[in-house]
Symmetry: C2
Subunit: 209 residues, 2 copies
DNA sequence: GTCTATATTCGGATAGAC
DNA sequence: GTCTATCCGAATATAGAC
């Protein structure tokens, strides 16, 4: 409330700070893509944003804190991309589209995929605030799966495994291609067929091992 | 049985060297499990095997070379575990067992899984000799899948994605548990059901990598 | 093969002036 | 917020004696 016509200097400063922070994050991603996530050097990062290395500490408290900011930003991007999916009439189509998008997202930015879904940075643990963004994504995805007919925990677990697996194989064995991405549709139909075959009970009798 | 009664000193020395090298690898794994793969310190590794840090260079040429040795050893262990699987009469059962074993292997040693299946060490590329061991595993697994009825490239790709996904989810979201491991059986049946629904063109033997 | 000694470079982080 | 200066520790790797 109450933003003056001429923006108070405080807000301008805050905005400049945000812009600079965004630039820092941008260059951090660039370095991560070049050398690997774990190999980001604060010295080189500072160089790229025209700062001296100690000045970075005005923007984050430690290197792990930087990773946390990258983690949160990456999840925000992905949540936005999920929300931007065209709404499909058929829930099955929507499910297919989500799986396809997941593989695409992993494929188009491998280090992002590593930071979010593989725990590779020694000592890094996402903050609660960052995890909250992650949970947004899972809720959104769960809705889509539920609408497509998945009901049990086992259904969900199979579906998430399939999504993770397609993405992983795409990234690991056909980077830049679509060999696993194009399996999104048939794989979803596989899952849905099994749901329809034995609704609410995708596992055999005695399903707890 | 042709070893001389008095073993030649050359062979004894060679064996001692191998034993020491094995000890080095053992402790390297221990450090990786404690601190993460990327955080292995040659100083601490040397301490643990009663050497000074520079002496390690009598056993490998660089740190990346150490990772390569770990990579090769890990694949050898896994190949052995695959070969040690009890033979099942039903190829479908054999397939189930393989998927279950894959998830178990990832679950029981997460850093091994990371080194083999996630490219997380900056600059590390397995040597040709190490990759040869990896291919052994893929050939072995391909045979099992083929016998279970998978014929097309798409079948294989789906199956490998499912295996990778179950393992990943198990490791990432239920470490120490069996929430995804117990989905091995129903998931294999899912795959096989789709194969029976629309059988594809057979692939040539050994042509899947 | 193992040692001591050292080179070299780099890392993240802090103190304190402006 | 940004700087200079610096700390302190860590890292991998090499040289050369024994």
């Amino acid at each position: 409330m109450s933003a003056a016509a001429t923006e108070p200097p405080v807000d301008r400063r805050a905005r400049r700070r945000e812009e600079k922070f965004a630039r820092i994050l941008h260059e951090a991603w660039a370095l991560a893509r070049r050398d690997g996530l774990a190999a980001i050097s604060l010295r080189e990062l500072a160089d790229r944003v025209d700062l001296r290395q100690p000045s970075l500490y005005a923007y984050f408290e430690s290197k792990l804190d930087l990773y946390d900011a990258m983690f949160a930003q990456a999840y925000r991007v992905i949540v936005d991309r999920f929300r931007a999916m065209p709404a499909a009439d058929d829930p099955r189509d929507q499910f297919v589209e989500m799986v396809r998008l997941s593989v695409q997202l992993a494929s188009e930015d491998i280090v992002r995929h590593q930071l979010l879904f593989q725990r590779t940075i020694p000592g890094f643990e996402p903050s609660d605030a960052s995890m909250a963004i992650a949970y947004e994504l899972y809720d959104f995805g769960s809705d889509i799966m539920r609408r497509a007919g998945l009901t049990t925990q086992a259904h969900f677990d199979m579906a998430t495994a399939v999504m993770a697996g397609l993405a992983h194989q795409q990234v690991a064995n056909d980077p830049g291609g679509d060999r696993w991405e194009r399996l999104a549709e048939p794989t979803v139909d596989l899952l849905l067929a099994s749901v329809r075959a034995k609704p609410g009970r995708p596992t055999k009798k005695g399903s707890t091992r």
